[in-house]
């Protein structure tokens, strides 16, 4: 994917500056992570001794959630692919991924939990492992769908067509040919989903805390905010160690290169039965996993307490609270600011990576804060900057967000820096155009779509961030996501629903992301 570092010597001071920046940034990202591991080393044994049950709970929840997400998402991907459903069904199936997981959890509470809008009485015990798996699956099965669908699309029709021509039945050609060919993509999908679940804080925070079900991500939070501990930061860092240990096996899996897209294809005949099954699966998923919870959330947000009808009072009470208003303003400001910086920084780093191997290595390290559970980075930020004046300001959060989300911005930029662009730049250089002019006149205009895509990929991630924010926020740097969590823990479900609806509306620009660009 990366452009060849051709014509390196012709590249002047520009990349050297970029290399220095890349190295500096990756050091800034690694220091907090290493700090946490050092600080927590002494506490690992006591965590293993006292909280082994949480390790097992985390492990089985993550495995079950991954299995459910990959089987459901993968099943939908195979069905829609085989039945050649139109492209717009993609949007229906991906919609669940655009709802942040903790908002999904709140939506399921609104639909099925105590005091729900459908029946009033609890329909499914949502404060439970079942609830956590339900919320996880409705968010991460669409992710598995998107990733696996891309793998299958890349494989094209030819292998399965060849198998059919040689007399294999549809199911046998699927098992023997198409799925084995998709194995690498499947492995990458499993890895990514499992890592995401392991690091997910919002869902077990909303649905686990009240039932005293902890995962490692929420246990780290509970340890940090436990008044009885003499050194809460070390205890939380000990938990972070286990998060890293559980995440490590995932890094040994193959990376998710989906291979080259095959050329033209002969349309396979689609049996009417297959088509029916595929269509009904798509609609069942859309209705049950997307429409039902979101509709319930919407109803709850506009419902007066203990009565039916329509009211704006839930939004009104929300706006009367200073910290809720400030949270919304902070979140939007941070989302716009961080996405902008991530997009530009991603471009600068990708360009530096083109010119220098050192920079390329440094840039690779920036994936760590993105892939490792966010709890680790948050604890690291407290360790390194918790005593400075940055603490309790929105800048403190922004720095954390930047380190975490620069990776997805970078990925976009790397994909965009093609050899053709390098050649164009080289031509300009030969004609004596200065580096800044080349950037301004050639690179930025040509890369504008990618910059916009980078921006739109990072924007929703920051807007609804809770994993880092829950640990790092302080009076003055509240965020909207943390507000939702706090309102839920205060039992104020309606105002929480109102805030969640506002977040969903503010997140709508994500829909403008060109397909396939989503991180």
């Amino acid at each position: 994917m990366r452009a060849e570092p051709s014509s390196t010597q012709a590249r002047s001071r520009f990349p050297r500056l970029g290399t220095a920046g890349a190295v500096l940034l990756s050091v800034a990202a690694l220091l907090p992570l290493i700090g946490v591991l050092v600080r927590g080393a002494s506490a690992v044994v006591s965590v293993l001794r006292g909280d082994l049950d949480v390790v097992w709970t985390t492990l089985w929840l993550v495995l079950a959630g991954t299995a459910l997400s990959v089987i459901l998402g993968g099943g939908l991907a195979v069905l829609t692919w085989l039945a050649r459903l139109p492209r717009w069904t993609d949007a229906l199936l991906a919609a669940g991924y655009l709802v942040p997981p903790f908002i999904g959890a709140a939506a399921w509470l609104a639909a099925l939990g105590p005091g729900n809008v459908l029946a009033g009485r609890t329909l499914v015990p949502m404060y439970s492992a079942t609830g956590i798996l339900l919320a996880w699956t409705t968010h991460y099965a669409p992710l598995a769908y998107l990733l696996l669908r891309a793998t299958l699309n890349a494989q094209g029709d030819q292998p399965i067509l060849a198998a059919r021509i040689h007399g294999l039945s549809l199911s046998r050609s699927l098992w023997r040919v198409a799925l084995p060919l998709a194995a690498r993509g499947l492995g990458a999908t499993v890895t990514l989903v499992a890592l995401s679940l392991l690091g997910n804080y919002g869902v077990p925070a909303v649905l686990g805390f009240p039932a005293k079900i902890y995962t490692l991500a929420t246990l780290a939070y509970a340890r940090l905010l436990n008044p009885a501990l003499s050194d809460p930061l070390a205890a939380a860092s000990g938990v972070a160690w286990l998060l890293v240990l559980l995440a490590v096996p995932a890094f040994f899996r193959s990376s998710g290169d989906t291979g080259e897209v095959s050329g033209a294809s002969f349309p396979l005949p689609v049996s009417p039965a297959l088509s029916r099954v595929a269509w009904s699966s798509v609609w069942t998923w859309t209705m049950l996993a997307v429409a039902l919870p979101l509709l319930a959330l919407l109803l709850l947000a506009f419902q007066p307490p203990y009565a039916s009808g329509f009211t704006l009072a839930n939004f009104q009470t929300l706006f009367e609270v200073d910290s809720a208003r400030r949270g919304l303003i902070n979140s939007v400001g941070l989302a716009v600011g961080t996405s902008l910086v991530c997009a530009l920084l991603g471009l600068a780093l990708a360009r530096a990576g083109q010119g220098s191997r050192l920079a390329r290595r440094a840039v690779q390290l920036l994936n760590l804060p993105y892939l490792l559970p966010g709890t680790l980075l948050a604890l690291g930020m407290i360790l390194t900057l918790g005593r400075t004046a940055l603490y309790a300001t929105p800048l403190f959060l922004m720095l954390a967000y930047l380190l975490r989300f620069v990776a997805p911005g970078l990925e976009n930029a790397q994909a965009a820096l093609t050899p053709a662009l390098s050649q164009l730049e080289f031509a300009a250089q030969v004609h004596g155009v200065s580096p800044w002019q080349r950037l301004w006149r050639i690179v930025l205009p040509l890369l504008r779509p990618q910059l916009v895509a980078s921006f739109l990929v990072v924007y929703p991630l920051v807007l609804s961030e809770v994993t880092l924010s829950a640990l790092l926020y302080a009076p003055g740097s509240e965020t909207a996501g943390v507000n939702v969590l706090n309102l839920l823990s205060e039992g104020n479900l309606r105002s929480a629903a109102a805030m969640a609806v506002l977040l969903l509306v503010l997140g709508l620009p994500t829909l403008l992301v060109p397909r396939g660009q989503r991180a």
Binding site: K212, L224, P227, N486, S489
Partner: protein, 324 residues
């Protein structure tokens, strides 16, 4: 210039005025376990009188607030000017470490019984643990805590976890000291369930998952006023006072404004706000909230006992109800 000559006179005049008359400004940060909409009412009232003071709030459960403050104390980077949570033992320890300012309550009428720790922290309003009953689930109201052992309440009982909620710790400590652990053993046999927090327990009680629960009174009253099928029973044996004091931290860079906020809570207006929010005011003569008995009979305070035996109470309760 003639005016300049008058300047020292003005300056002298200002310094002679009491602290409350100075125009306050800057930021005050409040660390609290109070629910946000309730705190906001008091902040709005305070800011009407002191428009140049910005009040910021960090709000979470008592345990989490104290942990955050502990971490900031350890790091020497304390953000809080004011502390207001439901853990009198924590206040006692910080007061003994000399981390609190003496409260400046000049100009407001505060009964001496509401001030603790040589006047370094004080009660601004009262709330009690009582029995909340869902009248759709349970037909006959219990008269007191002893009735909860009866078969009529079998598998219909709940209370929040003392490990999480300062209020529930008061319940566990007071009832176990007064009636011995046999009381909670009997409730365990009768199917008492332990939920995490007061709000979660209240929600489930309202939705009919439980028939009766030991909860703080103000939120029960408020939800009942909104139409929830709830009855509030002040137990025959006595209600349990949940102490939620407030204090000004010595490290505060804006003590004058922090003290003014405390004085506002004790003022006629602040106390009336509490009453409107269904809390009981501490200043005599302040209006009482609707639906509250004329006098509330309480069990003797177990705060000192709880402070000494916190770990033991938590451990025995956890063992009895299989908490982690």
């Amino acid at each position: 210039m003639k005016n300049l000559a008058l300047l020292p006179v003005f300056l002298g005049l200002f310094s002679a005025l009491p602290a409350g008359a100075q125009a306050l400004n800057g930021t005050v940060t409040l660390y609290t376990s109070e629910v946000l909409p309730d705190v906001q009412v008091q902040i709005d009232g305070f800011r009407k009188l002191n428009p140049n003071v910005d009040v910021k709030v960090f709000r979470s459960g008592t345990g989490e607030v104290t942990a955050k403050l502990n971490a900031e104390l350890a790091a020497g980077n304390v953000q809080a000017d004011l502390l207001w949570v439901a853990d009198p033992t924590y206040f006692e320890s910080l007061s003994k470490k000399n981390l609190f300012e003496a409260l400046n309550v000049r100009g407001v009428r505060v009964p001496s019984s509401a001030l603790y720790g040589d006047g370094t922290y004080g009660e601004v309003r009262k709330l009690y643990n009582v029995i909340g009953v869902n009248t759709k689930v349970v037909s006959a109201l219990p008269a007191g805590f002893a009735d909860l052992k009866k078969p009529a309440f079998k598998n219909k009982l709940a209370m929040p976890s003392p490990l999480f909620s300062g209020g529930a710790l008061a319940t566990a400590g007071t009832l176990s000291r007064t009636y011995g652990w046999t009381y909670f053993q009997a409730l365990a046999t009768n199917g008492l369930k332990i939920e995490q927090s007061n709000p979660i327990t209240t929600t489930k009680l309202i939705n009919g998952e439980y028939g009766a629960a030991i909860l703080v009174d103000y939120s029960l009253r408020r939800e009942a006023a909104k139409g929830a099928p709830l009855a509030v029973v002040y137990p025959r044996e006595g209600a349990i006072l949940v102490s939620t004091p407030i204090a000004v931290l010595k490290s505060s860079p804006n003590k004058a404004a922090a003290q003014a906020f405390v004085r506002y809570l004790y003022s006629g207006e602040g106390q009336a706000n509490f009453s409107k929010l269904s809390y009981l005011p501490v200043v005599p003569g302040a209006p009482r909230p609707a639906g509250v008995p004329a006098s509330i009979f309480t069990l003797p305070s177990a705060d000192a006992y709880i402070a000494q035996n916190k770990a033991d109470i938590s451990a025995r309760f956890s063992a009895l109800f299989n908490l982690k």
